[in-house]
Symmetry: C2
Subunit: 515 residues, 2 copies
C-alpha cells in the first residue's frame, strides 16, 4: 500500500466519501489510489473555483466535509476565491493539494511555488506531509480540523513521493470535538436583555438558523416580543411556511442604520455584531448605535441549540408556540414586465417543497428574502465571503449532497461568468438544478457603488469596466456549449413558463432572464 | 486631486497606459480617476485570470508593463495562476489591488482577507500603501520594480481611504536600472567551453532568443559547431525563415536525457540548467549528465545581448554569417485525417508573416516547434509556469500590444476551459486573434502521465477525472455565447479552410478542431 492509498482509506474511515477534483501530474498516484479503493465519488471540475465552491455547497447541505484535489500552488490559487467564501461560511473542507516530490522542489521547475503561502490566507489549518509513513495520520488530522465546529478549511499538501512511497498503515478517524457549551452567565445576560422586548434584537447566525435551534429562537421571540433577525448573508437558513420568521439585515448601510438605530440591546447567537460590507466615505463601519449594548451569548463555534434552549428556559418560553410564517404561496403568478418585486412574488409561488435555493442574484435579488418568507419550506444559502463566482459551483455541491432535492440557483450574470464551467459538471453528473441568470448586462451593483462612494456619473472608462454588454453574453448558447438545456425569458409570464419547465426536468436547466 | 488620481497620473508618467481590469466597490475611486484622467486604456476581463494572463501577454510583446486592477484578496486569488505563469516568464506587471479602508479592516467584513499573504507567493514586490500622500511615490516604486530586468511582478495594495483621501502630488517615473554586464571571466569560461564544438550546447533563454542577441548566438554556432538550443518553454522566441535555428529541449524526460547525454559542456545565456518538469519515480530531476560541465555566462536578468556579443568577439565569430533557417513554407497543404505531424505541416505553411503565436496546445502541439522552424518569420510564446488557462488570456494582451499583427492562439481544450471568458474580451475589443481549439476531449497529457508515474490503466474514477467527454464541450456554441465567430473542422482540409477564414477576418475567430 502506498501513501496515496493510505490517505484515501483514511479519508473514507473519516466519512469523507466525495472528492471534487481537478488533478495534474503530481496528483496521479492519488488519482490511481482513488481508482483502486472503492467508495469515493470523484467529480471533475473544469476549473478549480468550481471544485472549491462545490465543496462549500456540499458541506452546507451534507453537514460533513468533502475532499478537494488540486494541482500544486496555481491550482490551489484558482480555488482560493471560493475557499475564501467557504471560510467565511465556516464550512469544513479537506483540500488535498499535490506538490512536487520533496527532492525536486530545489530545482525550481516551472510549477514550483510556495504552496503553504498560497494556502494560508484562506485556510484554518495547513500542513505539508513529510513522508509516506505520516500521510495517513496527517490525513486524519486534516479531517478532524475540517470538522471542528462550526467547520474549517484544512489544507493538506502532498509531495508526490509521499504519495508513491510505501505506507505503514491506515489511520482511524479522530474523534470530532463537541461544540463548547456557553456559560450560565452569558445566558443570564442574554435573557436579561431579551426581557426588554421590542427594543432588543436577537441576531442569529450559523446553525442557529436551522432545526430545533431556530424553534427555540421562535419561542423566545413569541415570549419576549424581541426582534428576530439574521445577518445579511447566511450559510444556510431553514425558512418558508410553518417555520420561524427571521428577517435579514439589509446590505445598504443607510437602511441597516435606520433599522438598528433604536435597538438598545443586541443579543448575538452564532452571529457577529453587524458591520458594513464595505467602507464608504463619511459612513460608519459599525452599524449599531453607540448606546446599544451588545451581548454575545454564543459564538458560531459554540453549541447554539443548547444556548437558545437555555435562553428559552431562563425566559420561561419553553412552552410558548414558536412564531411561524403563514403560507403565502397560494396566490396568482405575477405577469407582465420583469420587476424586482414581481420576481419576488414569482419565486414565492414557485419554489417547490424542500428546495435548496442558492442565492447569488446580487442586485436582482433584493426583493427575494422578504417575498419568500411564506413560500413552501426550503433552505436558502447565501454567498458568505462576497467573492462572486460562487453560486453555480455551490449548486453542484448542494446537488451532490442532496440528490433527491431540487436545487435552484439564482445568479447575477456578472457572478455566473466567473465560474460558468460549473454548467459542464452539472451536465456530466445530471444534477437536478434549475438556474436563473438575471441578465442585466452589467455589474449593476458597482454602478450603484460608484455613486455611493461619490464617484459621480460614470464616463467611458468606467462604463467599459462596469457593463457587460458589447457584446451581450448569449447564455442559451453558453449552456448549449456545456451540454445543458436552456431557454430564454423576457417577461414574468415567460419566466414562469421556463421555471416550471426547469422544475419538471430532472437535470440541469438554465434560464436566461433578459432584464 | 485624490490619491487614486495621483496614482493614475503617476502610472502614466511611467508609461503604464494599459489597465486590464476587474474592479469592485473598493476600487471605485480608482475607476473614477481612470475616467477623469485621459490616457489609460481600460480593458475589462470577466474573470481575473483573464486580466493577469493578458498583462503577461502584453509585457512579452510590448516590452513594458501594463497595470491590472483587482478586487481585494479573492480577486487577486483568481488572478494568481496567471501571475505565476507571468512570474516564471519574468514578465513585468503592476498589480493594483483594492483593499478595505484602513480603519475598516479590523471589523472582518465578508471580503476581508490577508491580501499581502495572497500576493506574496506570486509577486516579486509587494507593498500596501498607507496614505493618500504616499500612494503616488509607492506607485512609482511599483512600476520601477515591475520594470527591473528582466521583469517582475509588483503588487501595490490600495486601501480605499488612500484612494479617496487628498494627495499632495504626482510622482515622476523612477529611472529603470540597466541590465548588469557579465564579467570577462564568465565570457572566457563560456568561450573556452564553446570551442569544444558539437559536444557543447549553448542554451538560450529570455531575451537571448530575440533580435541581435539571437544573431550573435547564430554566429557563435556557425563558428564553433556547438549545438544551439533553448529551454523547453520560452517567454518569446523570434523564429522562422531567415532567423537563427534554435531547437527546444523536449518535455519528455527520456527524450531530454537522450539528447543531453553526450553533452560535455553546457553554456547558459539567460537559461537555467535543465531539470524535469515533474519528478517521476526512478528518473532524475537534473537532465544533464554528471560529467557535464555547466557554465553560466549570463543569467536572465543580465545583459544577454552584450554577453553573446562578447562571446562572439572572444571566439572570433563576429564576421561569421549567423546560421539561418531556409524557408520551408512553400509546400502543399497537408490533407486528410488529423495527425500531429500533419498539423505541424499545416501551420508551417499557413502562419502569416509577423504573426504572434500563443502556444498552449500541450499534447496536440508536440510536432509544431520542429515543423515551423522555416515558416514565415513570427514570434512564438509558450506558457512558462505550467498552469494551464494562460493562452486565451495571453492572446488578449498580445493583441492589445500589437494591434497590427495577427495573433494565433493554439489551445488544448482542457487548457482553454480554465479562462474561456477571454473570448468575450476579444469580441468586445475586436482583437485580431485566430484561435484553434484542439478538442481531444481529455486532459490527454495526464492520461500519459498516469502511465509515466506507474499508475497503470485508468479505471472509472481516473477516467472521470482525466476525460472531458460526457458531454463533449461544443466550442462553436461557447464562442457564439461570447460573441465570437467560429467554425468546426474535422480534417486537415477543413482546418486549412477554417484557418484561412480566420486569418482573413479582422477580429477574433475560433476553430474547434475535433481530434
Amino acid at each position: 500500500m502506498n501513501g496515496a492509498e493510505s490517505l484515501v482509506r483514511t479519508l473514507l474511515n473519516a466519512e469523507v466519501s466525495v472528492c471534487f477534483a481537478n488533478p495534474g501530474t503530481s496528483e496521479m498516484h492519488f488519482v490511481s489510489a482513488l481508482d483502486r479503493v472503492e467508495g469515493v465519488r470523484c467529480i471533475l471540475g473544469l476549473f478549480e473555483g468550481v471544485v472549491t465552491g462545490a465543496a462549500d455547497g456540499y458541506y452546507r447541505v451534507a453537514g460533513k466535509p468533502a475532499a478537494t484535489l488540486l494541482h500544486l500552488g496555481p491550482g490551489l490559487g484558482n480555488g482560493l476565491a471560493n475557499l475564501h467564501n467557504a471560510k467565511k461560511a465556516r464550512s469544513g473542507i479537506v483540500n488535498v493539494v499535490g506538490e512536487h516530490a520533496g527532492y525536486h522542489i530545489q530545482y525550481d521547475a516551472p510549477l514550483t511555488a510556495d504552496i503553504e503561502g498560497v494556502a494560508r490566507p484562506m485556510s484554518d489549518w495547513v500542513k505539508t506531509s513529510r513522508s509516506s509513513k505520516t500521510i495517513a495520520s496527517d490525513g486524519a488530522l486534516a479531517v478532524a480540523a475540517a470538522r471542528k465546529a462550526p467547520g474549517q478549511i484544512a489544507t493538506l499538501i502532498l509531495p508526490a513521493d509521499t504519495a508513491w512511497g510505501e505506507a505503514d498503515a491506515v489511520a482511524a478517524a479522530l474523534p470530532v470535538a463537541e461544540r463548547l457549551s456557553v456559560t450560565k452567565h452569558c445566558v443570564q445576560q442574554g435573557a436579561k436583555a431579551l426581557e426588554q422586548g421590542a427594543s432588543t434584537m436577537l441576531l442569529l447566525g450559523n446553525v442557529a438558523l436551522r432545526g430545533k435551534a431556530l424553534e427555540w429562537a421562535g419561542r423566545i421571540a413569541a415570549k419576549t416580543g424581541c426582534q428576530l433577525m439574521s445577518e445579511y448573508n447566511n450559510a444556510r437558513m431553514e425558512r418558508g411556511a410553518g417555520r420561524v420568521p427571521v428577517r435579514q439585515l439589509p446590505f445598504v448601510v443607510d437602511n441597516a442604520l435606520a433599522l438598528l438605530k433604536d435597538i438598545t440591546h443586541l443579543v448575538l447567537v452564532g452571529a457577529k455584531s453587524p458591520v458594513s460590507f464595505f467602507a464608504y466615505p463619511g459612513k460608519p463601519s459599525v452599524l449599531v448605535s453607540e448606546a446599544c449594548e451588545v451581548i454575545t451569548v454564543a459564538k458560531a463555534e459554540e453549541d447554539l441549540e443548547s444556548a437558545l434552549q437555555a435562553l428559552a428556559i431562563e425566559l420561561g418560553a419553553v412552552d410558548c408556540l414558536p412564531l411561524c410564517n403563514a403560507p403565502t404561496y397560494d396566490v396568482p403568478l405575477p405577469t407582465g414586465p420583469v420587476t424586482l418585486d414581481g420576481l419576488g412574488v414569482l419565486f414565492n409561488v414557485l419554489i417547490p417543497d424542500n428546495a435548496i435555493v442558492i442565492d447569488e442574484a446580487v442586485t436582482s435579488g433584493r426583493a427575494f428574502a422578504a417575498a419568500t418568507m411564506g413560500a413552501r419550506p426550503h433552505d436558502w444559502l447565501n454567498i458568505m465571503g462576497g467573492s462572486i463566482g460562487w453560486g453555480l459551483a455551490a449548486s453542484v455541491g448542494a446537488a451532490i449532497a442532496a440528490p433527491d432535492r431540487k436545487v435552484i440557483a439564482l445568479e447575477g450574470d456578472g457572478s455566473a461568468l466567473y465560474t460558468q464551467q460549473a454548467l459542464w459538471t452539472m451536465a456530466r453528473e445530471n444534477l437536478d438544478i434549475t438556474i436563473v441568470i438575471f441578465a442585466n448586462r452589467a455589474y449593476k451593483i458597482l454602478l450603484g457603488e460608484l455613486n455611493n462612494v461619490g464617484g459621480g456619473q460614470p464616463g467611458r472608462n468606467a462604463m467599459d469596466m462596469l457593463t457587460l454588454d458589447r457584446p451581450s453574453v448569449d447564455w442559451v448558447s453558453i449552456a448549449k456549449g456545456y451540454g445543458v438545456q436552456s431557454g430564454r425569458a423576457q417577461t414574468l409570464d415567460e419566466l414562469a413558463l421556463q421555471f416550471k419547465r426547469g422544475l419538471a426536468h430532472h437535470g440541469p436547466y438554465l434560464i436566461e432572464l433578459v432584464m
